[in-house]
Symmetry: C2
Subunit: 173 residues, 2 copies
């Protein structure tokens, strides 16, 4: 039932960002406080007893959920950003794109050793950004407990890049 | 008292993004659930009776607060993004940077006529992005009620670009 509300609030946009790709547009979901609330409540219920220290939210759509979930669980929020956006000393990880590579960064004091974190983004696609984010967390000695998304595009096999960490996504396409 | 908690959680980073600029780093604030909670509660108290229909959050740091506030007020969330990031049909506004111009976009169905919105970002600097966002909202017939920030850099006179709309910012530098 609640998953149906979520599914109905996602809009398919054909040929974005390029011909042949069907983009999952989450803006109708964001605009609907019932759908948004269902997702944040689902996440909070799922991780309330996970003894988390922080939400690690991925630039930029992960930020839209990260603050709401950090508030719901009353824990910290850590942004992972594209290269050059964070102002203090950073650790970084490169990952592969379809053509070329990209780099994500996290402040080098963002997490302490043994802190338990949830990695959060809107969508699991090929998994490159998330896999790089897992590495960033582990470089600082933190312990990623799970990765959560609104949507998993299962046909892109992103899970295979993430090892055996639990993955939560109420919408699987 | 609560404003002091907020101020103490902001870190000055000299010479970012370029020599001579002191960047206000909000990542310690995000990492501290007490400070983050104080700010979201301040915003929620300020706008609970403002009959808002949506929060308009500005890419990307405004997203960190936007979801939390939309959830606290149980209203919708509308992202304003840099050009080329939103997948459906957009309206756009160009604004001036120190060197050159930039463009922000909003989906053309993001807001309806007469909807009351709060514009939200982390920091009011020169005001260019916020002024462009005000124009985007008004193009769709919506009524921006106020603009809210964590920090206002008053020496940059960003207010002057925003007309007579009320501005809320608990930290003024």
């Amino acid at each position: 039932m609640s998953t149906e509300i979520l599914q109905q609030s996602i809009r398919d946009i054909p040929d974005f960002p390029k011909p042949g790709i069907v983009f999952k547009d989450i803006t109708p979901f964001l605009r609907d406080p019932v759908a948004f609330g269902v997702f944040i409540d689902l996440l909070a219920d799922q991780y309330r007893d996970a003894d988390l220290d922080a939400i690690v939210a991925i630039d930029a759509r992960g930020f839209l959920f990260g603050g709401a979930l950090a508030r719901a669980l009353n824990i910290g929020l850590v942004p992972v950003r594209k290269k050059g956006k964070l102002p203090s000393a950073c650790i970084s990880e490169e990952y592969e794109l379809e053509y070329g590579t990209a780099i994500v960064e996290m402040h080098d004091d963002a997490l302490k050793s043994r802190e338990r974190v949830l990695i959060l983004d809107d969508l699991l696609a090929t998994g490159g950004t998330v896999a790089a984010t897992l590495k960033l967390c582990r470089k600082l000695g933190a312990e990623p407990v799970a990765c959560a998304f609104l949507i998993e595009l299962s046909f892109l096999n992103g899970r295979e890049k993430l090892g055996d960490i639990p993955i939560f996504a109420p919408i699987v396409v």
